[in-house]
């Protein structure tokens, strides 16, 4: 034996590294929380601080006293997320199942037809004209739901999963006289809950975090989803707060006293809270979904 583990990387530096990295990841989130709990006067005098001079729930009080704006945004986001996710999982899984069947005659051509759209797109301009000038979908829920429905990558992810189901399953059901639709609904769907859940969660996340379609198609505040409300608040907090305060009759001095800085951050916390509590439990599903890149077209 020439050398016996002459050099062994101690684990301590590794842990120190990850503790430092963790701090870099947590401090931004923490800073939002800290600002949302700060006193407005302290902010304007001393700026943002990681540790508030004194804890003040003023911003949260203010939001909960005038909850309509955020409740409404939650409602819009919830409706689009639930309907969008359900529709998209149904649509995607039906198609994926048919394309996974090796005896489906039109599988090749439809696969190519769908796959081509991931390679080439007409761009945002014709899509925008289609949505607004032909379908007249500005300021509708449909404008928030439709653009994200047909995710071709997730379709391929599901198809790969369905392909792993044994062929004999379908054959024996057919011999028993079950129709195609019945096989899909009573056999394939129950066997595929893991992949349906994975795709469902990923779509849910996409819908929950979406703001782009609101930016394009929505200008009525009653249809602002959460993320878009946040975006508008960043540039136009005064306007939102004026609409938020019940009655809408606010004079200038009162507006000046509103906790704009801390309220903005408190809104942000309220918007991401469900996400941060719920999604970590499903992290393994997301990690699974990452293999989507390895799916063949």
């Amino acid at each position: 034996m020439v050398r016996i583990r002459s050099y062994r990387l101690s684990r301590l530096p590794i842990h120190l590294f990850f503790i430092a990295v963790s701090a870099v990841f947590i401090v931004p989130l923490w800073s939002i929380i800290a600002i949302s709990l700060s006193n407005e006067l302290d902010i304007s005098n001393f700026g943002y601080h990681l540790i508030p001079k004194k804890i003040d729930f003023q911003a949260y009080h203010y939001i909960f006293d005038n909850p309509m704006t955020i409740v409404n945004a939650y409602k819009v986001t919830a409706i689009t997320s639930v309907i969008g996710t359900l529709l998209s999982v149904i649509m995607i899984s039906m198609c994926a199942y048919a394309l996974s069947r090796s005896d489906f005659k039109y599988s090749k051509i439809i696969t190519f037809y769908l796959f081509f759209t991931t390679l080439f797109s007409g761009g945002i301009v014709p899509f925008y004209i289609l949505m607004t000038k032909f379908l007249h979908l500005q300021n509708t829920y449909a404008a928030l739901i439709i653009p994200l429905l047909g995710n071709i990558w997730y379709m391929f992810l599901m198809r790969t999963f369905f392909k792993q189901l044994p062929d004999s399953l379908v054959e024996s059901a057919k011999i028993d006289g079950a129709g195609e639709l019945r096989i899909y609904i009573t056999m394939i769907v129950p066997l595929s809950t893991p992949v349906l859940a994975t795709v469902g969660l990923m779509q849910l996340l996409i819908y929950w975090n979406s703001w782009f379609n609101a930016l394009l198609f929505i200008d009525k505040q009653s249809l602002y989803p959460l993320q878009y409300l946040l975006q508008v608040m960043m540039s136009n907090i005064q306007e939102i707060l004026r609409n938020m305060t019940s009655g809408g009759q606010v004079d200038a001095t009162m507006l000046a006293n509103l906790p704009t800085e801390s309220t903005r951050m408190a809104m942000c916390i309220l918007a991401i809270a469900p996400m941060l509590f719920v999604f970590p439990f499903f992290q393994k599903y997301f990690a699974k979904g990452l293999t989507v890149g390895a799916v063949k077209g």
Binding site: I32, Y97, L290
Partner: protein, 306 residues
Amino acid sequence: MQLRELRKDFRKNKVLLALTLPLVIYVFIFSYVPMFGAIVAFKRYQFNKGILGSDWVGLSNFKFLFESPDLWRIVRNTLGYNTVFIILNLLGSVFVALLLYEITSKKLLKVYQSIMFYPHFLSWVVVAYMAYAFLNPRSGMLNQWLSDLGLGAVDWYNKSGPWIYIMPLANMWKEIGVSAIIYYAGLLGVDPTYYEAAKIDGASKWKIITKISVPFLYPLMTILTILAIGHIFSADFGLFYQLPMNSPTIFSSTDVIDTYIFRALIDNGNIGMSSAAGLTKSILGLLLVLGTNAVVRKINSDNSLF
């Protein structure tokens, strides 16, 4: 004769065909119709005449685009940033994955992974809020720290220079957890007997990493990098639109092809310029994906997209 066969095929497959129909129709309306609508790039679009009714103007929209002084800026920024992102994310996530692999405690491993993964659940709007907490020129923490160090405050949203560092940092912060997990999963696939054999031979840790772990990741690194190069013309719109808050004074280092197309369409209503830029991007993107895929297929046909 042939007709009868076609009809028989159809009858046999009609239920499965019906199952594909919703997605097929959806894709037709929302992907293929806009594809044909891309001809608007060759027209002078007028709202009242629609796409088909508007007058053809040949390549004049493209001429305007290619003569525009903005073109160099947006192409440079898009390609430059994406190149930096690809390199940094590759090095960073492989580095993190290798370190994660050294951690034996299951619990700590889970904690570190979750902490680095959570930005994946946030939208760029929220990340822009986080950045604002640091960069707000009046109350932001970064300016406070600078003044503690005796340095002057920086008007971050009006100063373009620092953004060439902020952008890659923000991008890495949001994405590294995800890509590190991909590489970490790759490392879990290494046969442990390699490591045992190396240890018996007295190989140093450094040798083990550079001669076993990293080479094992080469295929994954190659494929992911080449695929990323295929999308080098597409910038992450959320990052470039939300983080700089669409501030015009820093466009020189934050404007990319996608934000430019968006602004031309929504803010300026310049349909011609916007659609010409969009179509150019789509065509270049298509060629690049086809090209990179051909390269991947040469290296390892299992990993090619098609």
